[in-house]
């Protein structure tokens, strides 16, 4: 990211929030009084936040601070890895459709249209239920269903790029299709792809926490924000902090990503006006 962009508060603030959350998720567990899956037999079960347990404990006496941090690791990892998967599929699909145009484009985009019209989440649920709740499967499944927007955007951009003179020059100089796509087209898509990716991360995090909330995602003893929200919601009457802390971190993260995506898009559009 260019330093000039970071000087805009609309970009710097969410970026800083995200950095803090990532740092907390990565290093937080070492600051915690006990490992995330250890039970504090001295503390009350479902203890309120205190000096010993800053976010309180859950109904098994496990430290919630450690659990929120560890859950964050997983949620963030799902967001990033799934986005990478969707990037790989979406860019390839969109760039090929946009570059070759004509019938290839029509067929490829019709496939996207059809997939778009399907209730996709149900597929993900099916996949999770049927093939077990393996972490890798979560990554791939979410990535595999969230590439549609990316493909559409990349295709539109590629179509526009294809009319640019420097692409003609590359064609005339005898460069092959694949080489032009990799060397000239894809690098020029960077801006839109970054924006789209920034907005895909929260989508992926949402899907994972959605699955975990239903009990179809990540399994004990591992945990994620969605699973923690689910646990917290069950016991919310007695121990509301069990809901509020993971939900707060989840919402803050989603908000920061959406905010950052908005601001990046505005920054990207601005010079064109």
């Amino acid at each position: 990211m260019k330093p000039a962009l970071l000087r805009q508060p609309a970009i710097a603030v969410p970026a800083a929030i995200l950095l803090l959350i990532v740092l907390l998720a990565v290093f937080g567990p070492w600051l915690a009084p006990q490992p995330f899956d250890a039970i504090d037999f001295d503390a009350e079960w479902g203890a309120a936040p205190s000096a010993a347990h800053p976010f309180g404990t859950d109904d098994l006496g496990r430290d919630l601070f450690a659990r929120v941090c560890v859950g964050g690791r997983l949620s963030l990892a799902v967001g990033l890895v799934s986005t990478l998967v969707s990037l790989a599929i979406g860019i390839t699909w969109g760039a090929v459709a946009g570059w070759f145009g004509g019938r290839v484009d029509a067929v490829m985009m019709r496939v996207v249209d059809i997939l778009y019209a399907l209730p996709f989440m149900f597929f993900v649920i099916l996949l999770m239920v049927l093939f077990g709740r393996h972490e890798l499967l979560i990554f791939v499944a979410i990535g595999a269903v969230s590439w549609l927007d990316m493909a559409r955007i990349v295709r539109g951009q590629t179509l526009a790029l294809r009319r640019q003179p420097f692409i003609d020059a590359a064609v005339v100089s005898g460069l092959g299709n694949a080489a032009i796509l990799v060397r000239h087209v894809i690098p020029n898509l960077l801006g839109v792809v970054i924006v789209c990716a920034t907005l895909t991360v929260p989508q992926a995090i949402l899907v994972e926490s959605f699955l975990s909330f239903l009990g179809l995602g990540i399994q004990e003893p591992a945990t994620s924000w969605g699973a923690l929200v689910n646990d917290g919601a069950r016991a919310m009457e007695a121990t509301p902090w069990g809901l509020i802390f993971p939900a707060g971190f989840l919402v803050l993260t989603l908000l920061a990503f959406n905010w950052l995506g908005d601001a990046l898009r505005a920054a990207l559009d601005a010079p064109r006006r």
Binding site: D113, I114, F122, V129, F131, F210, L214, G226, A233, N258
Partner: protein, 305 residues
């Protein structure tokens, strides 16, 4: 747009076929079967059950049988709910899910358009910034976070509304709000952006030069074109609401289709899951078809295409 609607109809059947085939073979390829959980079943009973539901036939034959049933509008028997057909289960759940979904959709559209319009008329002012920040927050509030919080506040703390179950109109409200909130935020952002663009159009300047008050300019001249993106949004939104309804029905303990789906998937109730997926798929396609038609009705230029 009409040609697009026609195209949508033409592709509807193949789309549904792909949907059914994908779900069907996926389920049959997966390890485990519908009667695994009932551990104590004697092998001969399991064999008889399997034979009864034709699960002992080759997969492609089962698929053919299922498609044959579909042609007659038969979604088959449920493997878990004894003596119930999938169609009757869906018929039980559909009105419940539809009530919550329709209330949520209405809430999202009315609230979202109102918020977006107010923001667009005060573009770049304090109110606009405030509302758009709220919309960004709303967009980041998943239903399964909102739902428990709503229960915590309005059912448990204030005791104004029931915390769950299905008992009269009052039990629609909280689930509908939880379901609508993220969608309302999306509509507000769409409306604000589109109305802002439309209000900058040359023909709006013409309307101003005619001495029309701003109220008429917004409601007669600008709102209709500004609603076009909202109309296009309805297609994906329908899918989003259905997905959301799965959790919301779970949280509130509402006997809708979403719960059947989750239960069915967990229990390997092949026919029930297939039926629900098919039902949702058809609904989403129907919704998109209506959206295409509505788009054509709203935009006079689109009718020519």
């Amino acid at each position: 747009m009409l040609s697009r609607a026609a195209m949508r109809l033409l592709t509807a059947l193949p789309t549904l076929l792909v949907l059914v085939a994908l779900s069907f073979f996926l389920m049959h390829a997966a390890p485990g079967g519908p009667f695994d959980s009932e551990r104590s079943l004697a092998p001969e009973i399991e064999a008889r059950l399997a034979a009864h539901f034709h699960l002992d036939e080759p997969v492609w034959m089962q698929f053919g049988r299922y498609l044959g049933g579909l042609l007659h509008g038969d979604l088959g028997p449920s493997l878990q709910y004894e003596g119930r057909s999938v169609a009757s289960l869906i018929a039980d759940g559909a009105p419940v899910s539809a009530a919550v979904g329709a209330a949520a959709l209405l809430l999202a559209i009315i609230g979202g358009v109102a918020i977006g319009a107010i923001a667009a008329m005060r573009r770049d002012g304090g109110l606009d910034r405030g509302l758009m920040l709220l919309a960004l927050v709303g967009l980041s509030l998943p239903s399964y976070v909102v739902a428990p919080l709503l229960i915590l506040v309005f059912a448990l703390a204030l005791d104004w509304l029931p915390a769950g179950g299905w008992d009269g109109p009052s039990s629609v409200l909280l689930p509908a709000v939880a379901l609508a909130l993220p969608q309302m935020a999306a509509v507000a952002r769409l409306t604000r952006g589109a109305l802002g663009d439309v209000l900058a159009a040359p023909w709006i300047r013409t309307a101003r030069a005619k001495g029309l008050p701003e109220r008429l300019i917004v409601f007669r001249h600008a709102l209709k074109p500004a609603l076009l993106p909202v109309v296009s949004w309805l297609g994906p939104a329908a899918a989003g609401l259905m997905t959301g309804s799965v959790v919301v029905e779970q949280v509130f303990g509402i006997p809708g289709i979403g719960r059947y789906f989750v239960q069915g998937a967990l229990n390997r109730d092949y026919t029930l899951v297939l039926g629900v997926v098919l039902f949702y798929g058809a609904l989403v396609i129907a919704f998109n078809f209506l959206v295409d038609l509505a788009y054509g009705a709203l935009d006079p230029r689109a009718r020519l295409e």
